[in-house]
Symmetry: C2
Subunit: 212 residues, 2 copies
């Protein structure tokens, strides 16, 4: 049975209350640029200026076979425990990570999946967008699917101003790749702008929350 | 008064016992490539295959003004708390970070400083090597001082096989910069190979430990 914190509850899966803790987990396979996306997001949020941010990646036996996971904890207060416990937002860039981490999500959290690669989506409270397809078709490089996904995460969570992310990208990515990455980021923003998060079911776990 | 764990004590500041926890903190100013060095080190240790690794960077009001800090926790067991509490090895790439973090070091921990930029060294249990000077003179780019430092950290801590770090570097750095980074890494290894860690005082805090 999941604990439901009324104080922190937000149907939108967005950072809303002070003081609160907002947790993001990005997951997929190695080579999808998960950790790079997390680092850009964390630095952009930090550059926003009003929040503490802690960004972590863990490696261990479970990371063998090409799995990749990165976590970001955001708070208006000092962060004591920097790992995500129950993400408010889970980005799953492949089926394996969706299956592995979905159950950790907060009931009112938001699952975001790459519909190019995730075919079995475990909840109707999910945003499924074709990140890899969009990267290939609109930017010409599957490699930047991470930045398409980042654009969607930024648009959906509204955790940081998009122009700050673009500025961070410009500083962090080698000069020759900046334009491509920003193009991908904007493609992701555009994809997510078609989504009405408020129209999704309130709980990621069916009617479980109502039973509490 | 510092707690001294006899079980984990190692005069060498190296990961030695099972199960133990080895903590590394890398610190300097923004633009010195601290986080990149930490990510390469963490991924290399992970690729080594037998250890859990958790790599964290925190951003907050204290990170304003260009400070940069990254942490790596290494263990033979699952890592519950991924932040460093008392580093076994502290790399200080500038005076500010040396001043700020020295007191967190374990008594038998090892302070490694960039002697190009750190002029006041708070303990005789320190390894002071000219990372920035070496990067400029031997590689022609101050930018790779982080990789010179990484080479020294790898050589001093003996935490991971150097060839695994080189392999990780080859994968993580854009192709045009691989050779330069590996050259810098090897220059750092060479610098540190002249150091006899066993000849350093046992405690970073003078005779404090003997008094316990």
């Amino acid at each position: 049975m999941r604990k439901s914190s009324k104080r922190q509850r937000s149907k939108k899966g967005r950072l809303s209350l002070k003081p609160s803790r907002y947790e993001i987990r990005l997951a997929g396979s190695g080579g999808q640029g998960i950790i790079t996306a997390a680092r850009v997001l964390a630095e952009a949020i930090s550059a926003g200026g009003d929040k503490y941010v802690c960004q972590t990646q863990s490696y261990g036996p479970e990371a063998r076979g090409g799995a990749s996971k990165a976590e970001i904890v955001i708070s208006y207060e000092t962060i004591d425990y920097p790992k995500t416990m129950n993400p408010d937002l889970l980005l799953a860039m492949n089926q394996t990570s969706c299956d592995a981490y979905f159950s950790d999500l907060k009931p009112y959290g938001l699952l975001v999946v790459d519909s190019t690669l995730v075919k079995q989506i475990p909840t109707s409270r999910a945003v499924a967008l074709p990140f890899t397809d969009t990267a290939r078709k609109e930017v010409g490089k599957e490699l930047v699917a991470n930045m398409v996904a980042l654009g969607a995460v930024v648009r959906l969570s509204q955790i940081v101003r998009p122009d700050i992310v673009e500025e961070t990208l410009s500083q962090k990515v080698p000069p020759a790749f900046v334009e491509m990455n920003i193009k991908a980021f904007n493609a992701g923003m555009a994809l997510a702008s078609q989504v009405d998060v408020d129209a999704l079911p309130a709980s990621a776990f069916g009617s479980e929350e109502e039973e509490l």
